[in-house]
């Protein structure tokens, strides 16, 4: 579609330059995609190549050997992560869902706006700063590092995501369902829990899972809350190992065997996160008769 008022030769010249620019732009865009995807492919490739050989039964069932010795595993770190994540979820999920219900059912006012704003602000706080606060609130009081402190830090990080998603999903439930329930003489609290949450279940669970996947790999807030541990620990008030923490410690150490184990740990971490996400997706899809979103 060239400019038809210019003489023929000039017409062709303008067209050519513009076409070159168009092709250059396309080439640039395509190359950015390639450049961006390359590290992703590389990371996954290295995780598999360097990690797969080391993820064996010993790795998954043993605790670390003293520094410099070969062998041992990250069993206590995996267990510790599970413990800390459980504490974090127990604290953060009900809190987030409760706040989300409030925003959806009662929150069309200034106070609700404030909660939404604060939730967004909390989302952007660096995780290490949250670790400092958990340290101040829990560790200083207990006088030692603990799994509880780690759980508290992770809970704080989960709440904003869960709150926003729960609110969005509840607002998607059509008002006609609320009216049907009220019309039957079902009290408000029962309506919200049994009808609205039921209908929005898959969406709410997706939000919880997103928050969970995000905190499962977090290291910074655990550095001075859970702190890490060479041995097994199931107590809430003692320092606990965690998978991301262990990977960090091993990676920056000078020992080759620990480097090898760091790769294995990283592979296990990614697999655990992805499986958790997939498992929840599966349960949600096949568990209900179908609902909104």
């Amino acid at each position: 579609m060239p400019d038809t008022t210019a003489p023929v030769a000039a017409r062709l010249e303008i067209s050519l330059w513009r076409r070159i620019a168009d092709h250059l732009a396309t080439c640039f865009a395509v190359s950015t995609v390639i450049i961006v995807l390359a590290p992703l492919v590389a990371i996954f490739a290295y995780l598999v190549i360097k990690g797969v050989g080391s993820v064996n039964l010993a790795f998954l069932t043993q605790t670390p050997k003293p520094p410099g010795e070969v062998g041992g595993g990250m069993a206590n770190a995996i267990a510790g992560s599970v413990l800390i994540l459980a504490i974090g979820s127990l604290l953060g999920v009900p809190l987030g869902i409760g706040a989300g219900i409030y925003l959806a059912e009662f929150g069309r006012n200034r106070f609700g706006d404030a909660v939404r704003f604060v939730s967004d602000v909390l989302n952007g706080v660096p995780s290490i700063v949250i670790g400092i606060v958990a340290y101040a609130l829990v560790v200083l009081r207990q006088k030692h590092f603990s799994a509880l402190a780690g759980g508290v830090a992770l809970a704080i990080m989960m709440v904003p995501t869960i709150t926003r998603t729960t609110e969005e999903m509840l607002l998607l439930v059509p008002n006609t369902l609320r009216e049907a329930a009220y019309g039957l003489g079902v009290p408000r609290w029962r309506t919200t829990l049994s009808i609205l949450l039921r209908t929005a279940t898959s969406g709410v669970i997706t939000g919880v899972m997103l928050a969970f996947a995000r905190v499962a790999g977090e290291t910074a807030p655990l550095l001075f809350t859970a702190f890490g541990n060479q041995y097994w620990n199931w107590r809430l008030d003692q320092p606990t190992a965690a998978l991301p923490l262990q990977i960090f410690t091993y990676a920056i150490s000078p020992y080759d065997d620990w480097h090898r184990q760091a790769w294995a740990g990283a592979l296990v971490l990614i697999i655990l996160i992805v499986s958790a996400v997939a498992a929840v997706r599966f349960v949600v899809r096949h568990g209900t008769l179908g609902g909104v979103a």
């Binding site: 009216e179 049907a180 019309g183 279940t201 209900t288």
Partner: protein, 252 residues
């Protein structure tokens, strides 16, 4: 048996706008009463005041007296308790999508703590029979979800759901306006059967429907009750000129 409804000096506001002006009305027990009128005349607002559904809108306000049978709908009883004595069927069928047909019908009882399984089975079967849906779904009440039925069936499911709670009054807000003629016909037959046992108030845009199913008809215009009388009289010999104009299609 159904009960009568007495409405005295009912006024209703949405925020600053007054939606209903000084409504006085007596609904006869065990009869069907139709409310007609052009869009926006207040008939839907009116029946929502009867079961206090207007309270779900934040800016709604009501003054006046409404008595359902012997007791006052507003003083001394909570909206929740009131709504168990008055059932409501809405314009667009709204079965609970995540529940089976069985659970939908039983919802009004189960969600209020009623747990007797044997009795629930009886109630569900009886309600579905009362709403003429039993024959069509009896093999799949546990398997199919409420939302998987056709429009007419969904509305009959909603009627069964409302009946399961054994209300004394049944309010219907344009129940057939979203349905095809055959489903509409089935539901009109249903209303004719039901009114022997329940008191029915039905809002409708369709004057022929009012004439077919209701013994009494009230004509609303701009938030006021213009005329309320036996259906036969309203449609053949109305007392008010505005009623006549509406009936003959001059407006609305």
């Amino acid at each position: 048996m159904g009960v009568g409804i007495q409405v005295e000096k009912l006024n209703a506001w949405y925020g600053k706008t007054q939606a209903l002006h000084e409504i006085n009305l007596n609904v006869q027990a065990n009869h069907a009463t139709a409310l007609i009128g052009p869009s926006g005349c207040g008939k839907s607002t009116f029946i929502r005041c009867l079961n206090r559904m207007h309270e779900t809108t934040p800016e709604a306000r009501v003054e006046g007296k409404i008595k359902i049978g012997e007791f006052d709908a507003y003083e001394g009883t909570s909206a929740t308790k009131l709504r168990r004595r008055i059932g409501m069927v809405f314009q667009k069928p709204n079965p609970f999508p995540t529940m089976s047909i069985y659970d939908n019908v039983a919802a009004g009882l189960k969600l209020n703590g009623y747990r007797d399984k044997k009795h629930l089975d009886d109630v569900v079967e009886k309600s579905l029979m009362s709403s003429a849906l039993w024959e069509e779904v009896k093999d799949s009440i546990h398997k199919k979800s409420g939302a998987s039925l056709s429009g007419g069936q969904q509305q009959r499911l909603c009627i069964a759901r409302a009946l399961a709670v054994e209300p004394e009054v049944l309010l219907m807000d344009e129940p057939c306006s979203a349905l095809d003629p055959i489903s509409t016909g089935k539901i009109e037959e249903l209303i004719f059967e039901l009114k022997a046992q329940y008191t029915i108030v039905i809002v409708t845009h369709n004057m022929q429907q009012a004439a077919r199913v209701a013994e009494y008809t009230g004509f609303f215009l701009l938030g006021r009750l213009i005329e309320y009388d036996k259906t036969e009289k309203i449609f053949t010999n109305p007392s008010d000129k505005r009623t006549e104009d509406y009936i003959t299609g001059r407006f609305g």
